[in-house]
Symmetry: C2
Subunit: 768 residues, 2 copies
């Protein structure tokens, strides 16, 4: 394995500039605050390989889909997050030569992502072709406190000359998505204004007509004093800039502070965007870079207080998990239920920035434990807001009675994916959305969520499942044909065990939820019954019949559940039998060969055993794990974490640790050679789960937190923070003891290694 | 059902111009000669709805594929037949007004496709906006005799004025495919020349670099005498024309004869194309329109002599079958083994003009019986020529040992389709290619074909099947997973009965063929063994094991073969249960709903029972027919003919006739509302089969022709011609008797209704 960045517990450090790895570094060193995100592109011109990326949350474009062969039911478009205005740009010209690291000699280079404090820093010295040597230090952050504000401190020091340097900060809204299906540009200019030391552009998206205003206010200092400089306004199509010529002395630092605002029509009246943006940049400039940064660092400290994991004895693991937590917190902050989490977050365009079932299956547990319960609640409400669209989606596929099928991939609740075997058939996503409701309530105890939002969603999903199965005269049971399970290396299979199981579970849980709501809040229940024309007696009795007679394929002799009908007909070869030259299968084998092989992309039966572990004996889990593990190639970043957690649970500690290592530094060490496209944000939540649920053994059962921790690998200790129903708990596992600190004014009773322990208010206890 | 054209036994007649139906008529009235084809576009300008279509056999372009989600193994391109230079164009201008039927008043209009004589005629009178009334008669044909020549006779008669008329015949090579994936033009100009009364363009295709020269030579007559006129040469990009102004008198016909040649670099050296094209047009002009037409009509008479079917008592059926035979003969003439038959022939762009399994399954029987055996032989050699490419194709999918997988869709032997469930999985096509070899030899007795070409192909295909199955520990038999059968309303199924059966049959037949060649021509056999590194003992014993233990799903209780594993798990609904508003399913249902339904697009198990009928008892065939017929929606044009033949065989005569009617006039009556895209050429062969094999009960067994005919529907008699091993037989079935005429200097013994009858040389017998 190759290490590209220096190990450090709080920082990602790149100590030399490798142009071939620049796009990868641009992903890794991305910054964001949940409302906007920015890849680590350079401020100054760069003509080398780069993928410019600047994203504004919630702003998307419905790009016309491109398919070879249209299937009835396909959506007309694929929504994609937009690459938005470049706000970082500062062109530097020294004696007619533009600074461009692809064209001059780099004498030294260092790029640092400070995860503790949430900023990106870059320091380099370079010799231009005209012989002039300069030192540049660039620091930037996107404020966690003022969510529409970003700031850049860009300093240039002439090392071997004195002379005029032209600083030209700009905003460029003439941006194209790399993944534009028809090579179109998605932005049109609405308005622009350029003043002395400030400039603004309002651009609107085609079709969706979002308006985004991007503005900058800047000043330039030498020796901490504002320089008196004149600017030349530059305006081009979708582009504004201010060219500023400054006299610079050898050895003296000249600093440009650029205060940026990105405001969107999602949060402001279109008519007020310009005014509000001006106010935002001007206010930021008055506060100043250092104070803005200071309050930003404080906000990060708060985040870390609740979500940090400390690992001792393994610096690479420490850096890896912090990087993952950092990226999760940069991607989603949970204030806005219109937003969600794309697989690449704000670090790239792939997957269109859209929402997948990753959110419910992987991200919800992370935010449940590391943030206020409103954060996870908002992720859930996102789906509730889209219920009507999920019903429309199901209608399009022939379902009735307000059955709901949530989209496989979405930006605004509408389906925007177009592979029939995924779009129409990977319907287990519906189950994960139901499961997340259970998971949220189980963790938070927020039962009110059911009558407020949850039950309506459960009703729609259960109605879908009830229609999606039918009675097989042959099997005398209910079957579900033509699905794709979590293991996408099988398509259009019959009776995927996981999907059948979660469908049955959803109907069961919905019946439970109905009973609960009816009991606790009859009025709310009646409202729901009327709104959804719910025939409780008839529908629940239909569900009960289907629950009772649901077909769940298994092989009793082997003691395993069958991933799907006919799985045992497959050639009985194991991952261990595959020659390394054949890996990864998805690059080396044709699709049909992958499909008919027994090989599994990611946890499928095992995903079900993970979700519903209490339904099964350890022996059953182990038999299935032993069987399927040997056939799983983990070619999805979402796979090893589930295997790791189950392995931990089964006491297969070496395995658990090995799986953990596969994801913890997936992007940092670029295992899959694709970090250039962006980071695997949603799988980062899985890494967190592998530590807390796997090594920490955390579960919530009957309103109680359980732990059964152990120290993996060479770790000498590890500690994590958990929020649980008002409590902030710090759990510290070392070789001999387990220390639990309860930062709350109420006691809590936990179960540690099957023993109840009470931790008094604001106390720490040690146990083992 | 709606009739768009007047019934006539030898003609298709359109008696009024309906702009909305023009594109459909352009398909129906297409003409071609196997080397080129032309939709029935107008010679003069037409600004209304039209799909221009001119095609030159073998000239294609590898258009970059467009897919939403790339799968490993996909071909980089989709080859498509090219829309080539417009050679029919003759613009007419009368007192500054261009003749355009979309812009003037049509007083009368008649379009006739004379199938007996192979030409298209159009006669109309029109009143221009300037008040001038004219009569136009346009006649054109593509010569069956001089295959690079076409000719047009275009006459204009002023009805209420005398004056100057500008005739501007042109060649326009600036043509775009409607189905261009990226809206690109595929032609580039190489050269052009314009002379008095003649003009030439050489265009070359991008990437494939085919050169096509298109030229014209024309003259203009009045009262059968050449008019003295001056031409103005017009040259534009990829366009040449000759504007000719002629004084015309009221009531007097002015005729323009346009002699056209289309020569391609497939048949001429590139450097000689211009010269050869000039010679071709000039020679044609010297021969003159009427003589060219006369020899063309004679050639058509020869075709009809061998392939005509005469139906009495049902004019619609008579017209329908002649239209089908006419189109088949226009599409493929069998001289050139580089050519094949696209599903739309030369009548449209859909399916890219490429070759599908339609050729082997449907077209080969037609040409076997209605043409010299070399015609079918060339269709077979087409695949032999592509054997190396089929081996490469299989290698790409992971197969070894020179296993061959023929492409699903091809122009030059390379796969050019990109839907994984079809490209990689609809592998039964390989079986049809093997079956065609058997069928050809069985029909012709040309056993030499085996050692010359056939055995090599069989070897490659059997090697493929042997690797494509594997032994299921569960079933203790060989299984074939992840295929798509002929019924494309199922994708990625396991153990499609038809595919497993034809795979097993191929291996059996290959072993037989090996025995035969070894026995008859040891030297040829040894050559093949060496060339293909064939380990006879080892490989055939492996095949024998697989033949013995091939899994063929069936349900003994119902007495049926199962279309695939799990077919009986499907909801047991029948076509009769589907509300009409739901049909056709492929337009009304989403793809997943179609897939999980029991509904069948086209004969699948029944296709196997048709191919291998002698392997099964009538009872078995009937049980399967009764079961699957009720579940078949026939949403492929290739389906009803197979059902019709089996129904005939089972004595279900009403059904057989109803199925026949579904295809016989498919395009003429535009059942599927898609004739505007082109005609269903390959399914036309199926219609022929439904008559000859179905109603005529023709089979070849043990080198003998068998018939067991009956009169369907209201037919009072029908007669068909059959070529069989030198004999030309005319079979005439009437109410009481069966008349058989043997036009050959040798006697033949046939089996009619299970009785042997001998027909002496050049004699006719009557039997019953």
């Amino acid at each position: 394995m190759k290490r590209y960045y220096k190990l450090d517990e709080w920082k990602i450090i790149e100590e030399e500039f490798v142009p071939d790895r620049n796009k990868m570094a641009e992903s890794i060193f991305s910054i964001g605050n949940g409302q906007m995100g920015q890849r680590a592109n350079f401020e100054e011109s760069y003509s080398g390989e780069s993928m410019q990326g600047s994203y504004v949350a919630g702003i998307y474009y419905p790009d016309k889909t491109r398919v070879g062969w249209w299937k009835n039911g396909y959506p007309e478009y694929f929504a994609k997050v937009l690459n938005a205005a470049n706000w970082i740009g500062i062109n530097i010209t020294i004696e007619n030569e533009e600074l461009d690291l692809a064209k001059c000699e780099i004498l030294s280079f260092k790029r640092v992502l400070n995860m503790k404090e949430g900023y990106l820093e870059r320091i380099f010295t370079a010799r231009l072709n005209n012989g002039n040597e300069i030192k540049v230090a660039a620091k930037r952050f996107i404020s966690l406190v003022k969510q529409e504000v970003a700031a850049i401190k860009y300093s240039v020091t002439p090392l071997n000359f004195s002379g005029k340097i032209i600083f030209c900060p700009y905003i460029d809204a003439d941006i194209e998505n790399e993944d534009s299906n028809y090579d179109e540009k998605f932005w049109k200019e609405v308005d622009k204004k350029t003043y002395n030391r400030e400039a603004y552009i309002i651009a609107r998206t085609r079709k969706t007509k979002f308006h985004v205003a991007t503005g900058m206010y800047f000043n330039i200092t030498q020796e901490h004093v504002s320089v008196d400089f004149k600017t030349k306004k530059i305006e081009k199509k979708k582009y504004v800039a201010n060219s500023s010529t400054v006299e610079c002395q050898q050895g003296q630092e000249t600093v440009l502070y650029k205060y940026v605002a990105n405001l969107s029509s999602e949060n402001h009246e279109k008519g007020k965007l310009l005014k509000n943006t001006k106010k935002t940049t001007r206010d930021a400039s008055k506060i100043g870079f250092e104070i803005l940064l200071h309050e930003h660092i404080k906000a990060w400290a708060e985040k870390w207080k609740e979500s940090d994991i400390v690992i001792e004895g393994d610096l690479a693991a420490q850096q890896g998990i912090r990087f993952n937590i950092f990226q999760m917190n940069q991607t989603y902050t949970g204030e806005d239920p219109r937003l969600n989490i794309g697989p690449k977050g704000f670090t790239g365009e792939k997957y269109g920035g859209s929402t997948y079932w990753d959110t419910e299956a992987y991200c919800v547990p992370f935010y449940l434990s590391t943030a206020d319960s409103n954060v996870a609640r908002n992720l859930l409400k996102y789906r509730h807001n889209h219920l009507q669209k999920a019903i429309k989606n199901a209608e399009k596929l022939g379902f009735t009675n307000n059955a709901a099928l949530y989209p496989m991939v979405t930006m605004n609740g509408e389906e925007c994916h177009n592979e029939w075997e995924i779009t129409f058939e990977e319907i287990h996503r519906n189950g994960a959305i139901a499961y997340a409701i259970y998971n949220y309530i189980n963790y938070t105890g927020d039962n009110d969520y059911l009558h407020e939002y949850g039950l309506e969603v459960l009703l729609g999903i259960s109605r879908f499942w009830a229609q999606r199965v039918h009675y097989s005269e042959e099997k005398k049971q209910y079957v579900m044909l033509g699905v794709t399970g979590p293991n996408e290396y099988e398509n259009n299979v019959n009776n995927n065990w996981y999907t059948n199981y979660i469908a049955r579970w959803t109907m069961k849980y919905t019946i439970e939820a109905i009973g609960f709501v009816k009991d606790k809040n009859k009025e709310a229940f009646n409202k729901i019954v009327n709104k959804w024309d719910f025939n409780e007696r008839k529908e629940t009795s239909d569900w009960k019949d289907k629950i009772l007679k649901m077909y769940l394929p298994e092989n009793k002799e082997k003691g395993i559940f069958l991933q799907q009908d006919g799985y045992l007909d497959k050639e009985q070869i194991l991952v261990a039998d595959i020659d390394n030259s054949m890996k990864p299968l998805n690059q080396k084998w044709s699709w049909d060969r992958i499909l008919r092989s027994p090989f599994i992309k990611q946890a499928d039966v095992l995903q079900g055993l993970y979700f519903f572990e209490d339904d099964f004996t350890k022996d059953t889990v182990e038999k299935n794990f032993d069987y399927y593990e040997k056939r799983t190639v983990h070619e999805s970043s979402l796979s090893p974490c589930i295997h790791s957690i189950i392995a931990s649970d089964l006491g297969k500690r070496k395995m658990a640790y090995d799986f953990y290592l596969q994801t913890a530094r997936l992007d940092l060490d670029d295992y899959n050679h694709e970090a250039d496209e962006g980071c695997h944000i949603t799988s980062m939540a899985g890494t967190w789960m592998a530590i807390v649920e796997g090594f920490g053994g955390m579960r919530v059962k009957n309103n109680q937190l359980h732990f059964s921790p152990y120290l993996p690998g060479k770790w000498t200790s590890f500690a994590f923070k958990i929020r649980f129903r008002g409590h902030l708990l710090a759990i510290n596992i070392s070789k001999k003891t387990i220390e639990i600190k309860n930062s709350f004014n109420k006691a809590i009773t936990l179960v540690v290694n099957n023993n109840e322990v009470e931790v008094a208010a604001n106390q720490t206890i040690k146990t083992s």
